[in-house]
């Protein structure tokens, strides 16, 4: 059975979904990812779905589950590059993926992950001022 490759970049795991996800593939990805987060001690997971054109409620749920699982394992999940049609479909299905962070593209996603994983390290306080 084919699997979706998981690449390691520093403390971030990078997953690019280039094929149409079917249910078994999605579940396999969830298994592999949870395994790899633990093995590699990853702090962030970046899932690029810019080539994904079709989603159903199951795939949507799996994405949510992956985020929840990695949160339990202390890693942050960012889903990047969602197509407009996919976003509309997910919203219409009632799946707004509340626990998942999103970004427009891989670059932005990496920035976000860097910012989030940096928070843990003792960092000089930024001067953004009080924000609501």
């Amino acid at each position: 059975m084919d699997r979706i490759p998981i690449l390691k970049m520093g403390r971030v795991l990078l997953v690019t979904i280039q094929v149409d996800m079917h249910d078994r593939l999605a579940l396999a990805l969830q298994d592999d990812l949870s395994e790899r987060i633990v093995r590699d001690g990853a702090r962030g997971v970046l899932i690029d779905i810019s080539s994904l054109e079709i989603v159903d409620s199951f795939i949507g749920r799996v994405l949510g589950d992956i985020a929840a699982v990695s949160r339990v394992l202390d890693a942050v999940t960012v889903v990047v590059g969602m197509q407009p049609a996919v976003a509309i479909t997910l919203v219409e299905l009632g799946l707004s993926l509340p626990g998942v962070r999103t970004a427009l593209n891989v670059e932005r996603g990496m920035e976000l992950l860097r910012a989030v994983t940096m928070e843990d390290e003792p960092d000089p306080v930024d001067d953004a001022g009080p924000e609501g």
Binding site: V79, V80, M82, Q83, P84, V86, A87, I88, L90, V91, E92, S96, L97, T102, A103, L104, N105, R108, G109
Partner: protein, 285 residues
Amino acid sequence: MAEPSSVIPAILADDEAALLDEWIGEQTAAAQVRRDLLSEVELRQQSAEFLALFRRAAENGRLDDPAGAEWEGVRDLLARLSRSRAVQGFSPSETAMFVFSLKRPLFARLHARVTDTQALARETWTATTLLDRLGLFTTEVSQHSREEVIARQQQELLELSTPVVKIWEGVVAVPLIGTLDSARTQVVMENLLTRIVEIGAHVAIIDITGVPTVDTLVAQHLIKTVAAARLMGAECIISGIRPQIAQTMVHLGVVLENVTTKATLADAISVALRATGHAVTRIRS
């Protein structure tokens, strides 16, 4: 009922050229004002084509059933003609006159050929019913094509009325004007999301100053749009909430959770600029 065969096909076959001339004369007399929209050559060509098809259909088909298969050619021609005339600006009755004006030359020939009064009455009745039904057909088609035009314009208006404007690098805004229904929300959502990708926007501002009322359904649509934009990785700000609308929303129990809301577009822009790392400062006091 065995209907005695009509002389109408024979008239059409024997006298086509003269009938055509007379008919065109009738049409130009009746529709003298429309010379600006339709050239004589075009009219003659259309009329000749109609007569030829009409003759063929009358020979093969039933004269009392213009909806039959033999009349398809005639109906096609009439449909094409009504449609093009509707676009050219003819009124439906002017278009119907194309068919109705054939009555006088045709009846004159029936009169000349049929001597028996009873037979004449019958022939006249057949011809007039047939032409009436064809005339009504043109009216129907032209009305239908006008409705198509209206529907298309509605669609265009829908798209025109929801522009997505780029405010600054990474910031887009949609000023919504008019009532939000499901169809419009769909268009707004699609436009907004596509532009977010194109521009690479971090922040999208939805300005509802021009939305007259916000009920639960409209709020639902807004929340959906915000959720879809968030899934793509852009943050949404809803601005332009008028005091009355804010009160209505609270009374209706509409909760815009996790959505940044601002009273004015200016506030929203300043928040968006700050979020993208820009600042607006006054250079003169």
